[in-house]
C-alpha cells in the first residue's frame, strides 16, 4: 500500500471507530426518525382531544354544513339560548363559542372563549368563518349551489411561453417548487457537512501538529501527501456518514406508511431535470472539497488543538452567511442577494442550486458559477499546499492573521 493509502486508512479507521463519530451518526439518524414519525410519537405522549366549538347561527342562511367536524375541532350547533351556551362555555363544556350574525349583508362572527385558544386553533376557526363568509356572500347573489361551487373552485389554467430563445424554457410552478425543496435540502446537507467535517479536519491537523506527531510523519511522507490524505480521508468519512443516514432515510421513506412518503419524494424528484442533478452534485462535491482544503490549512496554522475553533470561525461564518442567504431564497429565489451569492465560490454551492432549480436562469450562469468554483478550488489547493508545507512546522501565538504573518516571516 502506498504511503498515501496508509495515511488514509489510519485516519479513516481512527475516525470511524471514534465514539464521537458513532454518536453523531446515531444522533442524525434519531433526529430524522423523530421528524419522520413526529405525529406518531406525539400521539404516544400527547392525547389531544378535539376542540369543542359551539356555533350559534343567527343568520337566515344554513351554514352548519360548512362547519364540518374533523379530528382537531368538533363543531356542535346547540339550540339553547346564547346566554345558556355562554354559561356552558364558562363551565368549560365548550372551548369556544362562535356566534355568526349578519351586518350590512356581510357575515360577522364573534369567537368567545373562557380559556385562551392556541394560535393554531384560532387560525383554523378563522378559516372556517372566512369560508362561510364567502358562501354567505355568494348566496346573497341568489346563485344556485353548482354556480356557487364553480365560483369557489374554478382555477385558471396557466401555461408559460418564453419568446426569448437565449433563455431556457420556462419551468412550471411545480418544477420550481420541487427545485426549491430539493435545493433547500442540498443547502442543509452542505451546511451540516461544513459544520461537522470542517471542524473535524481542522482539529485533526491541529492535534497532530500540537502533539508533534506530525513531525514524525513528515519525515517519511511529503507535506503534500499528508495534506491529500486528510482531505481524502475526511471525504470518505463524510460519505460513510451520508450513506448511513441516507440509507436509513430511504428505508424509512420507502417502507413506512406504505411508501406514501416515498411517492411524495418521487414526485419532487420527477420534476427535477438531469442537468439540475448534475449541477447539484458538482456544487455539493466541490464546495465540500473547498471547505476541507480551508479546514486543513487552518489546522496547520495553530500551535495546539485548543486554538482550532478560533481559526475556524471565519470559515464557519462564511458558511453561515451562505446558509441564511439560501434560506431567504425559499421565499423568493429571484432577489439580487441570491444572484450575487450564487457566484461567490464559498457560498455558490448552497445558493446556485436554488437558482437553477427554482428560477428561469439562463444556461450560461450556472456554468460561470461552476467554473469560478472549480478555479477557486484549484487555486486554494495550490496556495494551501504551498502554505501548508511551511506552516505545519511553525509554531506561533496570536490570531489567524498573526499566525500567517509568522509563517511568512520564518519561512521566506
Amino acid at each position: 500500500m502506498s504511503k498515501l493509502g496508509i495515511l488514509i486508512k489510519q485516519l479513516y479507521k481512527q475516525k470511524v471507530r471514534a465514539k464521537s463519530f458513532m454518536l453523531m451518526t446515531l444522533l442524525y439518524v434519531a433526529i430524522i426518525g423523530v421528524i419522520m414519525f413526529w405525529s406518531d410519537i406525539k400521539g404516544i405522549f400527547v392525547n389531544e382531544e378535539a376542540l369543542e366549538v359551539a356555533l350559534i347561527n343567527e343568520t337566515p342562511v344554513e351554514l352548519e354544513s360548512i362547519f364540518l367536524t374533523n379530528e382537531d375541532i368538533a363543531f356542535s350547533f346547540p339550540a339553547d339560548s346564547k346566554e345558556s351556551v355562554y354559561n356552558q362555555l364558562k363551565e368549560e363544556k365548550y372551548d369556544a363559542v362562535v356566534v355568526v350574525t349578519e351586518e350590512n349583508e356581510t357575515l360577522t362572527a364573534d369567537i368567545a372563549t373562557y380559556s385562551p385558544l392556541k394560535l393554531n386553533d384560532q387560525s383554523t376557526i378563522s378559516s372556517f368563518v372566512q369560508y362561510a363568509g364567502k358562501i354567505y356572500g355568494i348566496q346573497q347573489l341568489n346563485l344556485t349551489a353548482s354556480e356557487a361551487d364553480k365560483i369557489l373552485n374554478s382555477e385558471a389554467i396557466i401555461t408559460t411561453t418564453n419568446l426569448n430563445e437565449a433563455v431556457a424554457d420556462g419551468k412550471s410552478e411545480d418544477q420550481k417548487q420541487s427545485g426549491i425543496w430539493a435545493s433547500y435540502f442540498v443547502g442543509i446537507v452542505i451546511y451540516f457537512f461544513i459544520m461537522a467535517f470542517l471542524s473535524m479536519i481542522t482539529t485533526d491537523v491541529a492535534s497532530e501538529k500540537g502533539s508533534r506527531a506530525l513531525e514524525m510523519l513528515l519525515v517519511s511522507v511529503k507535506p503534500s501527501t499528508h495534506f491529500q490524505s486528510k482531505i481524502i480521508g475526511i471525504t470518505l468519512l463524510a460519505l460513510t456518514q451520508f450513506t448511513i443516514i441516507f440509507g436509513f432515510l430511504f428505508v424509512l421513506l420507502r417502507f413506512s406508511d406504505g411508501g406514501e412518503k416515498w411517492d411524495m419524494i418521487q414526485t419532487i424528484l420527477n420534476e427535477l431535470s438531469y442537468s439540475y442533478v448534475f449541477y447539484v452534485l458538482a456544487f455539493l462535491f466541490l464546495t465540500i472539497i473547498l471547505f476541507l482544503i480551508i479546514g486543513a490549512l487552518f489546522g496547520s496554522l495553530v500551535s495546539k488543538v485548543e486554538e482550532a475553533s478560533q481559526v475556524m470561525t471565519p470559515a464557519i461564518m462564511t458558511a453561515l452567511v451562505g446558509f441564511y442567504v439560501m434560506i431567504s431564497g425559499v421565499a423568493n429565489p429571484d432577489t439580487l442577494l441570491i444572484k450575487v451569492f450564487s457566484y461567490i465560490p464559498l457560498t455558490s454551492g448552497m445558493v446556485m442550486p436554488m437558482r437553477i432549480g427554482a428560477t428561469d436562469i439562463s444556461t450560461i450562469e450556472p456554468i460561470i458559477s461552476l467554473v469560478l468554483l472549480i478555479i477557486t478550488v484549484i487555486v486554494f489547493y495550490i496556495i494551501s499546499l504551498s502554505f501548508y508545507k511551511r506552516s505545519v512546522l511553525t509554531y506561533s501565538s496570536g490570531g489567524v492573521i498573526q499566525k500567517i504573518k509568522t509563517v511568512l516571516k520564518v519561512t521566506t
Partner: protein, 299 residues
Amino acid sequence: MTLTLEHVVKKYKDFTAVNGLNFTIGRGEIFGLIGQNGAGKTTTFRMILDLQDQTSGTITWDGTPIKKINRDYLGYLPEERGIFPQMKVEEQLLFFGELRGMKRDELKKEIDFWIARFDLEEKRHEKAETLSKGNQQKVQLIASFIHKPQFLILDEPFSGLDPVNRDLLKNAILLLKDKGVTILFSSHQMDNVEELCDHLCLLKRGVSLFSGSLLDLKKQYGKTKLTLRTNVPLNELEKLAGVKGVKVDRDEYVLTLVDETFAESIFEVVSNGQYIEKFSLDYLSLDEIFKDKVGGNVE
C-alpha cells in the same frame, strides 16, 4: 555511508539560524550536536530531514543530495514527544513501521524485540495517552527506528527519563550503533554526550565553534583539571605556581591549572614525599568545556 554538511546556511528574514555549518558523520558513528537553546540544532536536523530548505550549502548522504534519498532511510525522534495519544502502543508502532515501508510480519518481530527490551510488554495494548511520560518516550523512540533506518536523528532523547530508563536508552543506542546505524543526537546533558559520542559539533547562535572528535576538543584545553585530597590549606594551594583557581568540592580541592606541565611540581609540594589519598589530573569535562565555549569561562 556518510552524511556530509558543507557550508550550510539557513537564513530567515531577520536572523540567521545556521551559519556555514560543516561536519561529516561516518557509518555507525554517534555524533553529538550540542549547543544552547536556539543555537540552531533543531533547524539543522530539519534541514537534514528535508523538512526545511537550507538557504545555501549542501547536505549529502553518500554523495547524493539528501532530498533525493529514500526517506525511509531516515529515522527521527523529535525534541517534543509526538505520538498519537488515542492509538494503542502496538498499533502505533505498526503504523509508523508500515508507513516507512516495512512488511507487517517483519515489523511484528521487531516490535516484539523492542517492546521486550524496553520493558513495555504490559503496555502493549494500552493507549499511548495512558502511559507515563517515560514510557511514552520509549514508545516514540522505538517508533523512530522500528523501520531499521540507516541514519537516525535523536533530538534530546534523554530529557525527562529516570536513570534506569536512561540506561535502557543508552544501551539501545549502542546496540543500534553496533548494527551500523549512523546516529546524530543532541542533548543538554553533557555526560550523556561524553559517554556516547565519538565526534561532536558545538554550536553557538548558528555558528560551529568546534567540530571533530571529543578527544581533540579536550586536547584543546589539555589536562588542566587537578583533583586532590590533601591537608594543605586552601590559601597555600592558591599560591602554588601554575594554579589559576581552586574550588572546594566537599573534602576535595579542584584546581584549575594554567597547563598540565605544572602538575608534577604541585604533586611534589602537596605530597612532600608522603602518601597522598587522591591526586588526579584530567581533561576538563565536556560540561566545563561547553560552559567555557558557549557561556563563559570555566571556574
